[in-house]
């Protein structure tokens, strides 16, 4: 019996004031690299997009310093080029060391990201500052979620994600919208066409004045998903693998005064897709369809330096409201066991209110500075889900979460930063509990070019609603589940030289009482707490720019993740992942083009276990990709890209969910003057 799909996501909010953070960063490291300095000026959920990188139509990542995790390992991924590269959010996140994305099928279909050996449920995702807690299912879907209109994804690995509170057991991802600061107007049209019947068209416009900004956009995309895969010696057509998706968004900003800013954002997505069955039993789900609608809205106010305390520093405040609504429906007119029709419908609504203050003081005489933070959040979630068909289940529940967080960062001698803090999470509803989430970190600039960082936190994830309350005859939750707790720690080095940026990190996650859906009898699969789960590993990455026309990058992650009672590598966690890539800019050598860039990537993934016992394995593979980017005139970018050039068609990340072979995409971006 194949249970598929499920449900959805949510909301909240997290906004950070700016000025004091910028001051803190200035105190932390006045010679911070440019990219980092820029990123620290961005507030949560909203990216400063003024910088127009030379590789604008290229997905890139870079290590950054985030003021909420100043000692943590945080990486930004530029998402602006994803839509015309034939890639999805998962492809972009997969470039970050320590992150692995499990793909279930081709472009537009489900994919799930995990961090440092965790599973996708153990990762929180926020969008535009609004927390997207997934009430049920496999975790946040980075495959079907459209990246259109998103500027960046900020990935917090391990303890760095602790500021997200409940749910961020192994890390967190922040999807960031963005409005430029500089005045100007822009209109952009983007289009994509490619393999497997893929098309996408999007239009967005931005108006930026000195005191306000507005950005709106919409995109529609679709794919037939009709690829073939290898089943032994046979070539088999993937069926019921199509998808279509529409997204619309609006972001606005008003500077009420030089100290006060109001920002609001809204995003709506809807889609329908086939949910292809296991490769060995495609017929059983040939008519299965999943439909979803979701809206996310946020409004926030920042009050910079709202209180001046003379030589005792300044205090910033912020308030934020967030809301998310999500509906999902899954239907199937046949099942493996016969003619039982299946219909699952769920609604999820969450609202949140958040506030906080930040006190910054700089003792120049002593080369000391201090940053104190206090944050509070209230979140209310409503979830109802019905399953009708061969088996039945009803969930109608709610949950309130109250969070308070305090932290203090001491910066000394422009080379040392020490952070300590704790959160208190209090949940009530059908189930009540509370948890302390302490954390600490240190960064030390040992040399001007070399920084040592280390972090430790005791993170927390309460069970999702399906893990608690699912109640069908064959698939059940358990209201008595114990929440997951993890001790997560990392230590690493970062170096930034003129032409080389590199990072190497060792990490460890020890998860108590991990929750898995596993069979408990011949007919029943149930959510259960297992014995301890330990993930140890190392991440290494480097970007080398030997010439202004050339860039080389490499990344590697080793992860050994095991349930102690099984002793095998955890399913969905490859021991080895890596990537090497190169870019070469040819403009100037080739006449009549503003830019001509060629590039190639090789992504390696070692063999992966597909079951919890480690007895079912998928082979290792190397995904070779290449692209050419041409800017013949300054208002047009053309990108031709290829993926899986070796045309491997026997690869899977998830049991009996084959991945597509070689694919080609042509993307266009037409734009007026950039602001």
């Amino acid at each position: 019996m194949h249970r598929l799909l499920v449900i959805s996501a949510l909301i909240a909010s997290a906004f950070v004031p700016r000025t004091s953070w910028a001051q803190a960063d200035a105190a932390r490291a006045s010679d911070e690299p440019e990219s980092n300095a820029e990123s620290t000026d961005s507030n949560a959920g909203s990216a400063n997009t003024d910088a127009a990188p030379s590789n604008f139509v290229e997905t890139v990542d870079r290590d950054v310093v985030d003021p909420r995790a100043p000692t943590g390992f945080v990486t930004d991924v530029d998402l602006r080029a994803v839509s015309i590269a034939g890639e999805d959010l998962g492809d972009a996140l997969d470039r970050v060391p320590g992150v692995f994305v499990l793909r279930q099928s081709s472009y537009g279909q489900s994919a799930f990201a995990s961090v440092r050996g965790g599973n996708p449920r153990q990762l929180t995702v926020s969008l535009g500052g609004v927390e997207l807690t997934i009430p049920a299912g496999l975790g946040f879907d980075v495959g079907s979620t459209s990246p259109f209109g998103l500027q960046r994804a900020r990935v917090f690995r391990g303890a760095a994600g602790v500021h997200r509170g409940a749910g961020a057991l192994t890390g967190s991802v922040e999807l960031m919208t963005g409005l430029p600061e500089r005045a100007g107007n822009e209109l952009t049209f983007s289009s994509l066409a490619g393999s497997f019947g893929t098309t996408a068209n999007g239009l967005s416009g931005t108006i930026v004045a000195d005191w306000a900004a507005l950005q709106v956009g919409a995109e529609s995309r679709r794919s037939e998903g009709d690829f073939t895969f290898e089943d032994g010696a046979r070539e088999v057509e993937r069926i019921n693998n199509d998808h279509e998706r529409q997204v619309a968004f609006a972001n606005a900003r008003i500077d009420i005064s030089s100290h006060d800013r109001l920002e609001t954002s809204f995003r709506y997505e809807q889609g329908e897709r086939g949910t292809p069955g296991p490769s060995e039993f495609q017929d059983a789900l040939s008519g299965a369809r999943a439909r979803d609608q979701q809206g996310v809205a946020a409004i926030r106010a920042d009050h910079r330096a709202a209180i001046e305390l003379w030589r005792y520093g300044t205090i910033d405040f912020y308030e934020a409201l967030g809301a998310q609504w999500r509906r999902e429906r899954f239907t199937n007119d046949t099942t493996v066991l016969g003619d039982g029709e299946f219909d699952a419908d769920s609604n999820y609504v969450a609202t949140s209110a958040k506030f906080g203050l930040l006190h910054f003081v700089d003792f120049d005489d002593f080369e000391l500075a201090n940053v104190f933070r206090f944050d509070g959040e209230f979140r209310h979630e409503d979830y109802d889900a019905r399953e009708r068909g061969v088996f039945r289940s009803d969930i109608d529940t709610f949950r309130n979460t109250r969070s308070l967080s305090v932290s203090n960062e001491l910066l000394a001698f422009k080379e040392l930063s020490v952070v300590v803090g704790t959160r208190h999470e209090s949940l009530d509803g059908e189930r009540s509990e509370s948890a302390w989430v302490p954390f600490a970190g240190v960064s030390w600039s040992m040399l001007p070019e070399l920084e040592l960082r280390g972090n430790v936190a005791r993170t927390y994830r309460p069970p999702d609603f399906d893990e608690l309350y699912l109640s069908s005859e064959i698939l059940r939750g358990d209201p008595d589940l114990v929440s997951e707790r993890a001790t997560t720690a990392d230590v690493g080095l970062r170096t930034t030289l003129e032409d080389l940026r590199a990072e190497v990190v060792a990490f460890a996650n020890a998860i108590d009482d991990p929750i898995r859906f596993l069979p408990v009898s011949v007919y029943v699969t149930q959510a259960q707490n297992l014995s301890d789960y330990v993930a140890l590993g190392a991440e290494a990455s480097a970007v080398y720019t030997p010439h202004h026309r050339a860039m080389l990058r490499a990344a590697y992650t080793f992860t050994r993740a095991q349930l102690t009672e099984v002793g095998a590598q955890a399913p969905g966690v490859p021991e080895h992942t890596g990537e090497v890539g190169a870019r070469l800019e040819l403009a100037g050598w080739v006449p009549a083009v503003d830019r001509l860039q060629i590039g190639g990537d090789a992504r390696l993934r070692s063999a992966i276990n597909l079951d919890v016992f480690g007895n079912v394995r998928a082979p290792a593979w190397i995904d070779l990709g290449a692209h050419v980017l041409i800017t013949p005139v300054d208002w047009l970018d053309v990108r031709v890209s290829a993926e899986n050039l070796l045309d491997r068609r026997d690869v899977t990340d998830v049991l009996q969910q084959p991945l597509p072979g070689r694919a080609f995409y042509l993307g266009l971006r037409l734009h007026t003057e950039q602001p």
Binding site: D231, G232, R234, V236, P278, S279, E280, F281, Q282, D283, A284, T335, V336, L337, G338, D339, G340, V390, F391, M446, L450, L452, E473, I474, V491, G492, L493, V504, V505, A506, A508, L518, P519, V520, S521, V522, Y523, L530, S531, L536, G537, A538, F558, R560, Q562, E565, V566, G567, A568, D611, V612, F613, N615, V616, L655, Q656
Partner: protein, 385 residues
Amino acid sequence: MTRVHTLLALMLSVCVMACSEPDEAAERILPGGPPVCPGGAPVPTVRIVPELATIGLNPNVVRPLGDGTFAIAESASNTVSRWNGAALEQLVDVGGSRNPYDVASTGDEAWVTNYLSQTVTVVDLGSGESVELEHPSLEDPSGVDRYRDTVVVSNVAFNAPTEPYGQGSFTVWDIATRAVVATHSAAAKNPIFVRAFDDGDDSYLVASSSGELFLSDDGAGVNSPGAVEIWSGDARAPNRRVFDVPQVDDPQIGAPGRPLLAPNGDLYFASGTAPVLFRLNPDSGWVHGADDPLRFAESSGDALHHAAMSDRGVILITSFNDDALYLWDTSCDQIMHDRPIDLGVTSLLEGPHGVAISSESGTTTEALFIMNLSNVLGRVVLEWD
């Protein structure tokens, strides 16, 4: 840069610790003892090799092919593999959406029932070539066995969890022509298993029907009578004797499984829904029927059981829900170990789902078992000295 070196050394040590390979599952030994009853077999020393080989997904049955090798129907992989005592090879990929359920040898060929496609696949055991047979009478084909010059396939006619079962039937194929030569209705619904016992002219076939199964929050049970029928003579027009398995107060008591033949000629059946055995004397009827089953464990629930009979009259019973093996002495109908024998290698449910005797000598009995969830083939050796 000394600190850098220290850190790198720390990271290297993390990797070294993490890179070490896990221990392989090792053989386990349980000591034996004296017989549990006068005249009974001694309690054997039990050696368990829990992971002989990794097999295909959700294996449903392991059965001898008659040449010393064993076939394993791997339902979710749509494959049948062959174990030759040392290595595993794929015998046939029956194709997508087939769900192979059972497999039986006719000597040169293996016949595979494909539950979902309403077909039967016939595989040449020499060349590996296969052909898929269709027939209108095939309706969720499940059990299969060679009987004299025919192959008998049972059809459970399971419509859907929400619909009533069909009556169930048997399709009889002529081995030589691969033509259907007869169809017969089942005596009770859900005829899952057929097993022929070859004794020359006295050969006979036993079919067991579970009756309708239901699934509830309390587990699986039966809500219609089952039956055991014994065929003799030509399968085209067999002489059939039917032994009813009536419903009793406890709905979990029922669902007789694959027929087993004891040395004294009695038939045993492990229940699919309760930790009990049924015993049938073919001449006189039920010795221990649904109203008086032989209980081999106190656990309740929907534990699925499969069993195999040794020459010594000891039944090896796999119990899905507790990853256990039970030994039952038919000479006195008593359990042989005071606690279940753990077949798993983890504390997670691995789901033993079939057992077959692979060799017997004067001092040992060897059997193969399959794990439905962890997808491994294991071996259990009973040492009688």
